[in-house]
Symmetry: C2
Subunit: 335 residues, 2 copies
């Protein structure tokens, strides 16, 4: 029997219809991308001249900006969706609202290795990636025009990646995007009613029965959400209440690096290197959401097609229960 489950944070229903497909093998959709020629990869060491200048790099002492010697490098996107120059120039056009596309669009190169996978990336490098995420959010939030900074990763062409070399993207927007606004508004409504954070309640409930837990350490749980819209959708969330990712401290960075490496390795091995998207949701820089927002990371392997029903309704059809997805991910040994 198909099920309808409601996402308590986005308040949207998801259809779990397992009869349409049911084993992990039904979903395998290996990344088909060719690695290409490293001599032409703009993200490889030695090719720094091929990219816009770096805005941040963690590099060896004595090495020169925009040359080799780095292990993390952040650059402006060559084809930015938003640009920092100019005024917002907000205006109405009849019944419509308009503003200039002011903002930032950066690329974070996740290390020197063109061929890196979650198995080969060290916990230490994940820690550096996390510190760089934090540095960029703090830096970009200083621009008073910026209302939100989102960090995300597209892995594989089918997940929207155009370059093979491992990288994340950072976009800073002059508006609060609608999904974030929904999460905040609904979390506030829940808090106003119950005086509790909805994300904390989710952590408590998930830790209680363990059915959807993928991994847990001192500071984090990784779990497949009750109303997962996609097979093997996995969230990483701090067990304690923190609204802003960028307030993360050293101990939490260590634990987050372990969680990311573990979860991404399990997904990589179980699903044979699937395309995926990863998104970091933190509180907006200037919001009053300290009590009720709770930062988290969402990972979506891209194994199903989003078609007319999903676009037309916002209701997703997921052919796998999150309980089964979590059980498979839990079982997956990391080599």
């Amino acid at each position: 029997m198909p099920e309808l489950r409601k996402d308590p944070i986005l308040k949207r229903w998801v259809i779990i219809a397992t009869e349409r497909a049911s084993r992990p093998n039904d979903f395998k959709q290996k990344v088909q991308d060719q690695p290409g020629d490293v001599s032409k990869c703009p993200f490889c060491p030695g090719n720094e001249y091929m990219t816009p200048p770096e805005v941040l790099a963690y590099r060896n002492p004595g090495t020169i900006a925009n040359g080799p010697g780095w292990w993390i490098r952040v650059i402006n996107n060559k084809f930015p969706a938003l640009k920092p120059e100019g005024d917002l120039d907000k205006k109405g056009i009849g019944i419509y609202d308009f503003m200039n596309g002011v903002g930032y669009h950066e690329v974070l190169i996740e290390g020197e290795d063109h061929f890196a996978t979650p198995l080969t990336v060290t916990k230490e490098l994940y820690m550096e990636i996390i510190w760089a995420y934090r540095d960029r959010i703090i830096e970009l939030s200083k621009d008073q025009r910026i209302k939100y900074v989102i960090i995300f990763k597209n892995h594989g062409k089918d997940a929207g990646a155009s370059l093979f070399h491992p990288h994340s993207q950072i976009i800073a927007t002059p508006i609060i995007p609608s999904v974030i606004k929904n999460e905040i508004d609904n979390a506030k409504e829940y808090y106003d009613l119950r005086d509790r954070c909805i994300f904390c309640d989710i952590v408590t409930q998930e830790r209680g029965h363990q059915d959807r837990i993928v991994f847990e350490n001192n500071s984090f749980i990784a779990f497949c959400p009750f109303a997962s819209a996609f097979p093997f959708e996995t969230w990483i969330i701090p067990k304690k209440h923190y609204h802003r990712f960028e307030d993360i401290d050293k101990n939490h960075v260590v634990d987050l690096a372990e969680t990311m490496k573990t979860v991404l390795s399990k997904i990589y091995l179980l699903l044979d290197n699937p395309p995926y998207n990863m998104m970091l949701h933190t509180a907006p820089p200037n919001s009053n959401s300290k009590e009720y927002f709770h930062w988290h990371i969402e990972i979506i392997p891209r194994l199903t097609k989003v078609a007319g029903f999903e676009w037309g309704t916002g209701t997703y059809i997921n052919p796998m229960t999150p309980e089964m997805a979590a059980a498979e991910l839990r079982k997956q040994q990391i080599q």
Copy 2:
């Protein structure tokens, strides 16, 4: 300079960033599907035994149900996302909401021709498709458990179609899906403030300057919305206020058939048979939205990738202005 435009109905911002790509040719992404063997197509005449029994067919007098002689045939989906049997059995599981996946999932076969295109489908056959849409919405709405009926079409594998033979799908849900709920809630808010339908205001503004109009006849306009999330996104909407598609009369069916054939033919020719999704948004069967909801059809060619940024934020990056898309579609002659 990139732009930010707000969709007044869904209240979500869209980024229009034309520097990332700008000519229709940049977007061409022809449907690659192979037509397959018609002798094995379950939707072809003579193969009716391959499908679940029909729930509606427009067929020649004297022909027998589930045999040839039809020109429109509606069947239950062989792999339904929702099923009519059983009770909803709504319940809370801790903080989560759950109900059984009760509903309907049907397939509407749009004529006998396996190879039909918008150029070969006659206006008369489009009229029959429209009448069948109407018949199914009215029929499925009689089930008191049903809160919404959506009709949609996936064309091409990249848009989610699994069979080549032209068909639409009908899903009846026991909940009002979130996108529809948003449209209704926001349209109501607008109406409460201004005592006017937001969709009617859009029709007036679009007809005023014509920049985004693709086609117009006595009863309908087709236009590329101000905050199009996708290149060549096109909406078809009645010029007069009607909240429910299923109240459509004969004259409007004629005009809608002409509009659908014209718009889909223009998209087919300009973009060289792209994959697309088409969604019909009508008012829910039992809603009080008569004054402020306004039915319409949304068509989305699937030419861009939806990736981490879009999933994470609900903000879409569209590399083409709707004004340019509409101008190209207007210019496109139909053979």
